[in-house]
Amino acid sequence: MIDAIQAFAVIFILGVTIFVARLLAPYITRVYSRVPSRLDKLLNPVEKFIYKICGIDPNHSMGWKQYFLAGLLLNVAQMVIAFLILVFQGKLPLNPMGFPGLNWDLALNTVISFATNTNLQHYNGEATLSILSQMTAIQFLQWTSAATGICMGIAFVRGFIVDSKNMGNFHVDFVRTITRILLPLCLIASLVFVVMGVPQTLSASTTLTTLQGTTQTILTGPVASLDSIMQLGTNGGGFYGANAAYPFMNPSPYSNIFMISLMLLLPTALIFVFGELLGKKREARPLLWGAYIIFGIALALAFIPNIPLVAQGIETRFGGFMSNFYTVTTTAATTGSVNTALSAMHPLTITSGFLGMFIQSIPGGKGIGLMYMVMYIIITVFIVGLMSGRTPEYLGIKITGRDVKLVMVAFLIHPIIILIPTIIAYASGAAAAIGVGGTSVGYTQILYEFTTSAANNGSDFLGASGNTPFFNIATAIVMFIGRYASIAILLALAGSMIGRKSGGTTGLKTESPVFTIVLVASIIILVVLAFFPFLALGPISSFFRGLMNGF
């Protein structure tokens, strides 16, 4: 259990984050509605130049298919480039440690992992990747995958705007996301990290003599900038294999809190942007409170057991409380950065981590969490909305059979790509090959591996031990489907909203607190229905076996 001060700290940190997100939302809204701003003088020429050399017509508008394909194509192209860099890094410059090129399966897994905003790492960054790889393949993909996610979320919202004609232009949104949202925010965040003691340098390592007289090589690099984009972009891929547990990435409890805030900032801000772009600010309420109530439940679950201050695998700088808080947040926002060994966490913390990844929208990845939340709202509106005596409608739009089909398929993808590969991992002996057994503990690790991939989260138990052809390829496929299939289906849903009649004011009031409560109950019921038996086999069973931290 946690004490009152810790509870207050949680509420305060989340409160401030929501508040800052609220302040940020109008600015983000203006970026996507292309409202003139003071930054235009500085950025317009830059953007115009980019449009010119890329041959982008900024006034061209896209339907959902075109928008999605533009994004997918760009991502795949980036994957190809990053793949080549990783495979040939041994022959490329900026490789002071002389690391060899990556195996094709690890490289494939890594590029898909980073391009899908998952950042599952089957390698130790500082011992595998050259500076060039870190900066281009890794950090570059963290920017583009974050921007892609935000763009898809914005396009999704545009479909629901009354009288909207199209989804906008992906390339313009993409460029503006980077120049006007990610760059300025990361600049600020990086400076804060530098002040907190995170290194930002191009030199790869510092060699020094310790008190005992031995020499020690300390690996450094452009860590602060990576810190900011990995948290802001809900990426989660770290410079170091130990991720945010490494002192240079996350030096103090303050930087830890700052990271928690950064992870939640954009997903939360985009919820407000949803309301602002629609011109119905109140409609953001069920998304916001739905997300944070379930997030609160997940946190409470993780805080139930007695949290030891010191335990194996837990960073003493943060202690059990901060580690728990961070772990739940990183799964809730599907960031996947970690500041502790997952295997050190209590089964209940792991359960609440699963909850965050199963739901994917508490508040979820930036843009994507929003899309999933709207999906849950539509399912909920449909199932319970009939009980108000009217054909269910959301935002005044009547829900048709086709909409229901799309949301059901979007919801179905998740259990399929988690459960089927988990069985295959055991049946093919791939789990046994890396020493993971069929106990509740082992089962939890494998289930987590595919859940984190499907949810594009990235935290995992396996780490570098997952670097086998089976897990590299299997998780790559799961990450790819989990990202693009879901986005495509949900964009199709939003695309079908364009041109639909929207009027009814007498229907269900989705902005009311009553609806939010029903939404929360419905999300929990849906997720419990789909995943309860598997949680029961994994962490819940571990819990009842009395396994505690370090299970």
């Binding site: 005596g389 019921i525 038996p533």
Partner: protein
Amino acid sequence: MASDNEKTLAPTKSNESAPGGLRTAFSRKVLIDSVVRLSPKSLLKNPVMLIVEITFFIVAAMAIVPQAFAGVASPSLQIFYVEVAAILLLTVWFSTLSDALAEQQAKSTAGSLRKLETEVSSKKIVTEKWEKKIVIVKSTELRKEDLILIETGDFVPLDADVLEGIAMIDESLVTGESAPVRKAPGDSLIGGSRVVSDTLTAKVTTNPGETFIDQMIKMVESSKRPKTPNEVAITIVLIGLTAIFTIIIVALLGMSIILNLGADLSVLIALYVCLLPTTIGALLPAIGLSGMSRLYKHKIIAKSGKAIETAGDADVVLLDKTGTITVGNRQAIEFVPFASCTEEDVGEAAFLSSWHDDTPEGRSILKLAYEKGFVPKELNSLALSETYPFSASTRTSGVKITGMGLRLPKGGKSGRDRLRIRRKSSTISDQSMAAGIESEIDIVKGAPESIKTIVDSVPSNYDLIVEGISAKGETPIAISRNGEAIGIIRLKDVLKEGIREKIQALKTMGIRPVMITGDQPLTAKSIAAEVGIDEYVAQAKPEDKYSIAKKEQAESRIVAMIGDGTNDAPALSAADVGLAMNSGTEAAKEAANMVDLESNPAKIIDVVMLGKQLLMTRGAVTAFSIANDIAKYFAIMPVLFGAAIPQLQALNVLQLGLKSAVLSALIFNAIIIPLLIPLAMRGIAFKPTSTMTLFLKNTLIYGLGGVIVPFIGIKLIDLLLVGVFHI
């Protein structure tokens, strides 16, 4: 299990021809039908139940040859497998029983409809060589545009329009209205009604098999009934859930085999069937069918199931003032004289001008004048009078009397029987022959604006008085004598009984009632205020309804309206829900998607409520069915892997034993279907409140209730099984 319609929202007339309740429907035929429906082929329409039946075959095979299922079955559990298989089959049977019952109900509706158009012989008029002849043909051989002769005692073979003759028609078989109806040329006849007196010639307006009764019959016979949009969407949710649970069960089976968790296949199947949305899957067809039967109990024929659902979605209801809000008969209550005349002058003039006016208004004027003793001396001259019938273009009517008039004695007690007055006047006519005053009287009455244009001058307070009366919601009728405006007759509208409450119910549900009337704005405003309507359209012509409906639709609102005249047809077909009056023209009935056999326009409100009830019932059973799954997980999960992971017993909150857990959950899952059949067939009860209140209330009852009830139900069944059967 009485399924009377006491609990339905609107009071309905008891009616013998309406489909019978559950008890009467529960016949041997239904039982046989429900068993026949167990064949996998007929279950193809219901995939959820087909899956349950497949699992029955699997468990039955386990019971017979457990050895064939080595690893997932144990021979020692053979009896248990028999029990599980039996309950699985029972589950499917409950579902087919519900189908059979609903179908039986629908068939009895269809049957009672069919009775209306039994084949009768009819007299067809054919013209052969310039000569008209009567040929006796079967009604099925008649075609549209054929001419028929219908004599006393004959049945009207098909829907037809009267061409010649006036007759009394008994429509009680069709509408339940027992009093015979008078039909004159231009009126329409319903196939199946009977001529009580006199003879008619009529033109057939439909081909056999195309009457709206045929359409209704097609509708209620489920196999021909297309699914409504909401049914389609729910079916997709059910398929989606089935897919999810199939994946879960396959994954659990895989895990159990690979990790040696030792789950028994029958327990896994029990979990699967319990999770499947069997409740809603079994009841969905019955809910839709019985919704239509309920509508028929209200004597309304819907041309499609979709129309009923759409009615529940109505945002705006256009109500004709006359007939819907008011009874249609305005009553004269006062004669208001202008300065130059007395009340008596006005009353007598009104009397004269209304003598030939057979409308309810005209009769009420006569009655008022007679009661006040304003019987004019010119009464006998009325025989020689010349009348101007009411004309819609001038909006006036009148009488012109030439020759001598007679003075009648004043007073008289009551009654408006003209014959009596005439008798009285004839007895005194000889005595006072020379009492005539004017040689020619020309009286015109009508809309104040129209009178204003035909008189030479109007008093200065003319408009003031007219407006004063209109403002009270009453109708002023101006009256002029020999080109001079002499006064105003005040007519008052009489509200329909219970209409205020019905309109209030609409408003609390967030539906906007809009009143449409040909009256002046002031009159309209006052009536609207009296019944609590905020929006009205005054001085509207029937054609205006179309533009009003279109305007509301342009703002994405769902419009429901009623209509009867040919003028209403475009609006009826434009409206999302168009309810035509059976007494109306064929064009209106063609254009509408529902027809009210009793021709009561106020029923549009009942239609909206029935639509809502149908949607709510479907939603409630769906939510209940899905919410049930939580308890079933808690019942079966702990025992599924009981052998390999005993720790999961901690989840066994209901404290169930292995066999008892499975059997209790399965029995609950099966038994809930017949328990909910009455609810599905009569619809859930509700009081008109706001959308959100309804939502909250139903979510608490059926959503939260759906989570809690199975915990209690499963435990009770468990206690019974353990206590009585020692399982």
